[in-house]
Symmetry: C2
Amino acid sequence: MNRICALFQIKYPIVQGGMVWNSGWRLASAVSNAGGLGLIGAGSMYPEVLRTHIARCQKATERPFGVNVPLLYPNIEEIMDIIIEMKVKIVFTSAGNPRLYTQRLKEAGITVVHVVSSVAFALKAEQAGVDAIVAEGFEAGGHNGREETTTLTLIPMVQQAIKCPLIAAGGIATGTGMLATMVLGADGVQLGSRFVASVESSAHQLFKEKVLSVKEGDTTLTLKELAPVRLIKNKFYQDLQELYQQNPTKEELQKLLGRARAKRGMFEGDLVDGELEIGQIAGLISEVKPAAEIVSDLVREYNHAMGHLPEGL
Amino acid sequence: MNRICALFQIKYPIVQGGMVWNSGWRLASAVSNAGGLGLIGAGSMYPEVLRTHIARCQKATERPFGVNVPLLYPNIEEIMDIIIEMKVKIVFTSAGNPRLYTQRLKEAGITVVHVVSSVAFALKAEQAGVDAIVAEGFEAGGHNGREETTTLTLIPMVQQAIKCPLIAAGGIATGTGMLATMVLGADGVQLGSRFVASVESSAHQLFKEKVLSVKEGDTTLTLKELAPVRLIKNKFYQDLQELYQQNPTKEELQKLLGRARAKRGMFEGDLVDGELEIGQIAGLISEVKPAAEIVSDLVREYNHAMGHLPEGL
């Protein structure tokens, strides 16, 4: 049996990334009900908001779902308490040290997965005792690694280095891309951008439509001095570029970024001055679909690709 | 039959990239003799040097081989005359407008392939009448596109857009990576970094050894203001970084780059002040091998991966 399906007790090794401002209980439960693993993105939720989303998700699906927690979150202790108290069974951690919470979560009977962008961090996560690792390449939307290692390069390197199950992320939006990364050695996949453009995503409708319009070269990795993030090159990005012309300090960059840019862009639909995080693979996404249809598309495309493999040599 | 094998009349759809300072007649003929397609890299050769390499390659193999020509080469007319006069059968063009020479080469009975890094340029190349396209992702070594599109994202987008045969490049050094990109829709692959670390490569031994030591994050794409190039972060790169702190003009960057940096690094083995072009996938390369062994490894790994596919869903 597939190691990711066995670990999470799900039908397909397809994880919906727990993205800020996109991944509430509606999206997570829809993906889980379709046989994948839905994740609530805690990174954009106050603790009490997260509590509500977990409760609603528990009502909306009997299948396994999880919560993604960026470890740099300010109210992290409160978030972890809520997750344990509400008996969430699966937690994906990201953006921080996996040693901080892995043992505590595992003692509470929780399956723990950590998101990395390098072999070095994959090894640290495995040593910290995680049950699986997500390795995410340079092409992924949102926050990303400093090494800029692409998924095609990263997956075989991480697979060589670790023993625990491996989930590939970054640059995957179809069943064909899913099969390609699993050929490289991944046990399953995590998709972000594809699920942003879903009916159940909590992203603003204008942002979803913007994602459909993304072509090659329309996204870039920027703000490397703070935390590298892949976003659409809109006016906010152009403002950043102007500031970069002046050799800004970190503080000046932080000041321009300000607070709630991501909310403004992705949740409130300000396509001009908001931060619009999305992956390069948005170029392949042309339709907003229900999450269940996205999952069934992935399965159909994957099986089609399996039936139309290139010849042996 | 595989479209790339049919087009070039070769046994395996494996192309050795025609790289500056690495790809003379020894490497090209060794790859062709092993059943792949070897390419002489004209970009680092004076016209008379190229003439010698073509003549020696013709003596060293009866199998098809080709020449890679960067279209921005200063003596381009002379180079094209030599190629036609010496009855070279296959030409890969790169770094320039495919409309300039494709028809002339095809009228001389030459199979023409153009290297691109975007869908837009793939369409232009197809309209110019090329016989096949190489689509090369952000992770590739050496000169690269401005869009920074990774191979995993680029291949399915280009495959969707064009009808002619497609060769994937960037991030491939194993038969597993080869199969993954062919699952994505490529008909064959082009490998650069893997063949730099070959016995027959004309790279300096010190550079070959340096390639074996490359880990994740050791290469980066820089000089985007001139022509983006992926190289190893050595002292020359650090000097560039210091200059970047001062918001340099293009002329100042060009002045620091100077002439013959790439020769100095890759051919003369100056690992400190030379330009060392290599792809991210060098992190997976641990041994200098004869080119024939690299080809047979690729075939064995590819067939192994075909025999160990992930399960259907």
